[in-house]
């Protein structure tokens, strides 16, 4: 998987409350959530975000609440990928599970500026700032995570597992 996108920069310790505020959690509709993404950071943010954009963050992106509404909202808003120096663990699992592309790349925040153009090469394990030429190698996902990613998320992965195990199938 290889694609290019425009960069939005956010800082360290971006929590899931800031990605999607608690007051909007009375729905699970991704489209309704998407229009409020990062609203408390900047009310104009949701309108400026375009499909294919890439978020580049510092450390511990997605900390705090376990709300899966956060990666869902980012995905529904058209975010192609979140690149961060590091991710909080629940967000990391959630993003993998729902099929939002994420790249953990220590040092990423330092080589990308707002509005730079990024090239993300997931298969090749490399991210590149097309605006400056800087590149960064990225470690591949652990094997087990790759299986989930290849299946298209946790639900398809578990569907297969359930068929294998033969647990109380739906008639």
């Amino acid at each position: 998987m290889r694609f290019t996108g425009r960069i939005w920069r956010v800082g360290d310790n971006i929590d899931t409350d800031v990605i999607i505020a608690g007051r909007y959690l009375n729905t699970i509709n991704p489209a309704e959530l998407a229009v409020h993404v990062f609203e408390d950071l900047d009310p104009a943010f949701p309108a400026r975000l375009q499909p294919g954009d890439v978020i580049v963050a510092g450390r511990n992106f997605g900390c705090g609440s376990s709300r899966e509404h956060a990666p869902l909202a980012l995905k529904a808003a058209g975010v192609a990928c979140v690149v961060a120096d590091s991710f909080a663990r629940i967000f990391y699992r959630n993003a993998i599970n729902i099929g939002l592309a994420i790249v953990e790349a220590p040092g990423a925040a330092a080589i990308f500026g707002e509005m730079d153009e990024a090239e993300i090469d997931l298969a090749g394990g490399r991210i590149r700032n097309l605006s400056t030429g800087n590149t960064l190698d990225v470690a591949p996902y652990p094997d087990f995570i790759q299986q989930i990613v290849r299946a298209g998320g946790l639900i398809p992965y578990v569907q297969a597992k359930v068929r294998e195990m033969g647990v109380n199938p739906r008639p």
């Binding site: 310790n13 929590d15 409350d17 800031v18 505020a21 608690g22 007051r23 959690l25 009375n26 729905t27 699970i28 408390d40 950071l41 450390r59 511990n60 900390c63 705090g64 609440s65 376990s66 709300r67 899966e68 509404h69 869902l72 590091s86 909080a88 663990r89 629940i90 699992r93 959630n94 599970n97 729902i98 652990p142 087990f144 998320g153 946790l154 639900i155 578990v158 569907q159 597992k161 359930v162 068929r163 195990m165 647990v167 109380n168 199938p169 739906r170 008639p171």
Partner: protein
């Protein structure tokens, strides 16, 4: 080499004699918890998996507590999804409004989580149950859906960090102050992916309520879990409640820790986390001049009986400052009832505080105390993120119940000693 309590629980559940940090294990779970925010999404995903029934109707526990009692029509629909699913699946444990509580106060109280358990919940504060010597961690809705179907979940075995609390707790310093101080030292990602093991002589003096408070906030340092060893106080708590057999594990003498921190509890003042990070922690004396408009005493962190007793002790015979709105939210119906029979609720109402039925309510900016632009609040909750409790320019100062009650009286951040003196 020996194993930590966390490694032993996971090894036992994985059916292995030995386990090391970094190992990937798939383990059966004892409790699968969701609420009215995360549950509907989990149920939506569960429907796609292709199974008719949840793995075990006694393990899946649903608690509508965040926007319940229903704050608006959409919230009412979300709560209905939980209720209908509970009925359809014949769940043993569904807690309806009027019989419910904030999930992380409710489950231990009802004896639904016990030592040695592996517990997952689609709520980040599921780490609370580590106070009972269980492995307990928060996950998202899709992970929960998968576990509802197959009854197990995969984990990377976390490295453990050891926190040793020494000294004697000064007056007005409790579990909340210890955990705030800890997070202040290591930062909001200081324990990322790790298990925080709390130990040391200072913790002996802590009530179970305080231990729940501490384990609850492990996630605020990024931890996968927080855990305490089982002692006679844990056993006394568990014995009168447990609905299932339990198993006591403990760390070996030669268990390996990635880091060990020693914290002298004897030298601590009550602590306050300033906006907008639970790691922005300072002694209360540094906040003294800060005027506030609201106080919230409640949540899965500090809405338990001992918290209400401390707050009532300071509010008895005094009144809430004219500028301040004070909300007291007992975390469960049992706590509410006990607070009523002890006369605590009367103290709160007479002091000019509002007493609410159990709910998360203001803690996540839902209802029952949302903040207006620029307003400041002292809260006994666990998160003071930007906009968490309302308007993005509002400010939340996290503290224990004593600081919260004292601040309510004086209309500014206050040391409890200023009021009690």
């Amino acid at each position: 080499m020996g194993m930590t309590i966390t490694e032993k629980i996971l090894a036992s559940r994985a059916g292995r004699a030995e386990i090391r940090p970094g190992d990937l294990v798939s383990v059966p779970v004892d409790v699968i918890l969701a609420n009215d925010i995360t549950g509907p999404l989990a149920i939506h995903e569960f429907r796609k998996i292709g199974v008719e029934k949840v793995c075990d109707p006694a393990k899946v526990i649903l608690v509508p507590d965040h926007f319940a009692p229903n704050k608006d029509i959409k919230a009412a629909e979300q709560c209905r999804i939980l209720r209908d699913f509970a009925r359809e699946q014949g769940l043993t444990h569904y807690f309806e409004v009027g019989r419910m509580g904030i999930e992380h106060a409710l489950l231990p109280e009802k004896g639904l989580v016990v030592p040695g358990d592996v517990i997952i919940g689609a709520d980040s504060h599921t780490c609370t149950y580590g106070a009972l010597g269980a492995f307990s961690t928060g996950i998202g809705s899709t992970d929960l859906a998968a576990a509802m179907a197959i009854g197990e979940i995969w984990f990377k075995v976390p490295e453990s960090m050891r926190f040793e609390f020494t000294g004697t707790l000064p007056e007005w310093v409790g579990g909340k102050d210890l955990i705030l101080n800890t997070i202040g030292r290591i930062g909001v990602d200081g324990a990322r992916y790790r298990a925080m093991e709390f130990t040391g002589p200072a913790l002996r003096a802590l009530l179970m309520d305080d231990r729940f408070t501490m384990a609850n906030m492990a996630i605020e340092a990024g931890a996968k879990s927080g855990i305490f060893h089982v002692d006679e106080f844990t056993l006394a708590y568990v014995e009168e409640r447990a609905t299932r057999p339990y198993r006591v594990f403990s760390s070996d003498e030669d268990a390996a820790y990635v880091e060990t921190h020693t914290i002298d509890a004897g030298g601590l003042e009550p602590q306050v986390a300033f906006p907008h990070s639970p790691a922005n922690v300072r002694p209360v004396s540094e906040g003294r001049g800060i005027e506030i408009e609201q106080v919230v005493i409640g949540s899965c962190t500090n809405g338990r009986l001992s918290d209400l007793r401390i707050a009532a002790g300071l509010l008895a015979g005094r009144t809430v400052h004219p500028r301040v709105r004070t909300m007291v939210i007992p975390a469960t119906q049992e706590i509410y009832l006990q607070a009523m029979s002890e006369g605590l609720l009367r103290v709160f109402v007479e002091a000019g505080a509002a007493v609410s039925t159990p709910t998360c309510g203001p803690c996540l900016g839902g209802h029952m105390g949302v903040l207006a632009e620029g307003e400041r609040c002292v809260a006994t909750t666990n998160r003071n993120f930007l906009g968490r409790m309302g308007h993005p320019s509002s400010e939340i100062y996290l503290a224990g119940p004593a600081v919260a009650a004292a601040s309510a009286v004086l209309g500014r951040i206050a040391h409890p000693g200023e009021v009690a003196a």
